[in-house]
């Protein structure tokens, strides 16, 4: 079994089609939606965790790509801007998945992007706006 957090961009022509449903029906995959919306440009955006056997997983991804869905791993989308971050640590209690933690020795803030679910809570509360989302 593998599990990955992925960002899907649906072009406007696909927004009204039940694409994600096929992942369950035809490829036996499980998913957990973390975020989903349609932008003003009518592009669909969905962040989910996709879980399944590796072979099915790869076929599912292949299917999504063949439909015209653009895919990228979530870790590329939420970024900690090291130049702006002051390592204060006010974000750590807001992060629901402990993707942001304070190193007990250096007292610097560490960001584990593999744990991030893109809830964006940190983005607005960061005093220096060092957490950035680039969907």
């Amino acid at each position: 079994m593998i599990s990955k957090r992925i960002v899907l961009h649906f072009p406007s022509r696909l927004v009204d089609q039940p694409i994600v449903y096929k992942l369950v029906k035809d490829f036996d995959l499980q998913f957990n939606i973390l975020k989903a919306y349609v932008t003003p440009q009518e592009e669909g955006l969905m962040v989910f965790e996709l879980i399944g056997e590796e072979e099915n997983f790869n076929k599912g991804i292949e299917y999504l790509t063949s439909c015209g869905v653009r895919i990228q791993p979530l870790s590329q989308d939420v970024i900690r801007n090291a130049a702006k971050c002051t390592d204060c640590g006010v974000c750590v209690t807001i992060c629901p998945t402990a993707a942001l933690v304070v190193d007990p020795i250096t007292r610097k803030v560490l960001f584990y992007d593999n744990k991030c679910i893109a809830c964006e809570h940190c983005v607005k509360i960061c005093p220096t706006r060092a957490m950035e989302v680039h969907f």
């Binding site: 390592d87 204060c88 006010v90 974000c91 807001i94 007990p104 007292r107 607005k124 509360i125």
Partner: protein, 399 residues
């Protein structure tokens, strides 16, 4: 016993022994205060947190023809500055906001750009839009001015903060059942988190709790450059509950500081936005403590385990001015990442950067070691606990 003069002689010769406020802790632990006091000449402290009573004044130079901005209006990148001064002197406060900022009309407001951000951009050498108006006089006929300005072209650019460097600060929690947005950050409902704001064992006034060496005229690290303590800060409140070691366990002393903005650095003066609260400036300050005697060593070696503060409810107690603490915790407990409040384990977050405070104490240490930074004698002391000086609430007298 050493004097500041003797210490300065050693600094000039490059022979001064300088340690940070974190390093002195281990040293006193190992060798005792007496030996540490003999060996060490200076202890460097540091703090890096949001300090709202900050700002800068400028003399922008006289335009041709002249304009009297005094009594008129003045905006830097749309952020208004105070103009109730002479013709081209203005003061820009860290929390000033553009007139069209929606503030908290759409709650919680984002406060993306304010006076603190302008100050950081100026310091980083960026051009800033200045728009000013005057009412026009015979000697100052011009009524409007729109120009780009740059910090290097201003006659004076001086950081002048009337309250910085709080000696200790509250831990903020929220007992209510909805999220609140405060200057201490977002506080989740029902003790969802606890935010504190101090460098603890590195914080300047916690390491000189009776203001024995820090006074008016003390030369300091300010915003990456050199500054001075100019006065006690506003709300200076020395006569408070103290531990048996003499350290305040509630917010107490404060400093007013001043320094040439032109030699400061944008990484130590950072424009900041507190969601639902406002814009402000994060200020980096480092104060050197001359090791005059054993008693200075004892106090400079106070560690997080010996420094305490109060947990305060920011949903009711703080806004309604209702006194009362939900408990006392040490900075060592706060740094573990959780404290116990009303029998509940609560996650802690710091608004003040300990790692940056450490960097400041190290930077100041290197300046002193290189002989670039001499210690100054205070010309007057700060009001002490027995001075009768204090901070009172407003006694409203409606008319």
């Amino acid at each position: 016993m050493k004097t500041i003069k003797e210490i300065n002689e050693k600094i000039k010769k490059g022979q001064a022994v300088v340690v940070t406020a974190a390093e002195i802790i281990d040293l006193v632990d190992k060798k005792g205060a007496k030996k540490a006091a003999q060996e060490v000449d200076v202890v460097t402290t540091g703090t890096f947190g949001p300090m709202c009573s900050s700002g800068a004044y400028f003399n922008i130079g006289h335009s041709k023809p002249r304009i009297k901005i005094g009594g008129g209006t003045c905006k830097f990148n749309d952020v208004p500055a105070y103009c109730g001064l002479a013709a081209v002197d203005v003061y820009l406060g860290a929390t000033a906001l553009p007139e069209d900022d929606p503030c908290n009309k759409v709650f919680p407001g984002e406060f993306k750009y304010g006076g603190g951000h302008v100050i950081q951009e100026l310091v980083s050498g960026k051009d800033i839009r200045l728009e000013a108006t005057g009412y026009g006089t015979d000697c100052y006929p011009r009524k409007k001015l729109s120009t780009l300005i740059n910090i290097r072209d201003l006659n004076e650019a001086v950081l002048f903060n009337m309250r910085n460097c709080y000696q200790n600060y509250n831990v903020a929690v929220n007992l209510s059942d909805k999220t609140i947005y405060t200057y201490m950050g977002l506080l989740k409902a029902r003790l969802g988190n606890a935010n504190y704001c101090s460098a603890g064992q590195l914080s300047p006034l916690l390491k000189d709790p009776h203001y024995r060496t820090i006074g008016i005229g003390t030369r300091i690290f300010l915003g990456g450059g050199i500054g001075y303590v100019s006065w006690q800060g506003t709300q200076h409140n020395p006569n408070v509950k103290r531990t048996d070691k003499g350290v305040p366990c509630v917010p107490a002393g404060t400093l007013a500081v001043i320094g040439d903005l032109k030699q400061m650095k944008p990484e130590w003066l950072v424009g900041t936005s507190m969601l639902g609260y406002g814009a402000t400036l994060v200020v980096g300050i480092g104060v050197p403590i001359p090791m005059l005697d054993e008693q200075v060593a004892v106090q400079a070696a106070l560690k997080d385990e010996e420094l305490f503060t109060q947990v305060i409810d920011y949903s009711q107690s703080y806004p309604q001015m209702i006194p009362g603490s939900l408990g006392q915790v040490s900075y060592a407990q706060l740094k573990t990442g959780k404290i116990i409040v009303q029998d509940k384990e609560v996650a802690t977050g710091n608004i003040s950067s300990y790692s940056k405070a450490q960097e400041i104490s190290e930077t100041l240490k290197s300046w002193i070691k290189k002989g670039d930074f001499l210690l100054s004698e205070a010309v007057a002391g700060l009001p002490m606990a027995d001075s009768g000086y204090g901070c009172k609430p407003l006694n409203e007298r409606p008319f």
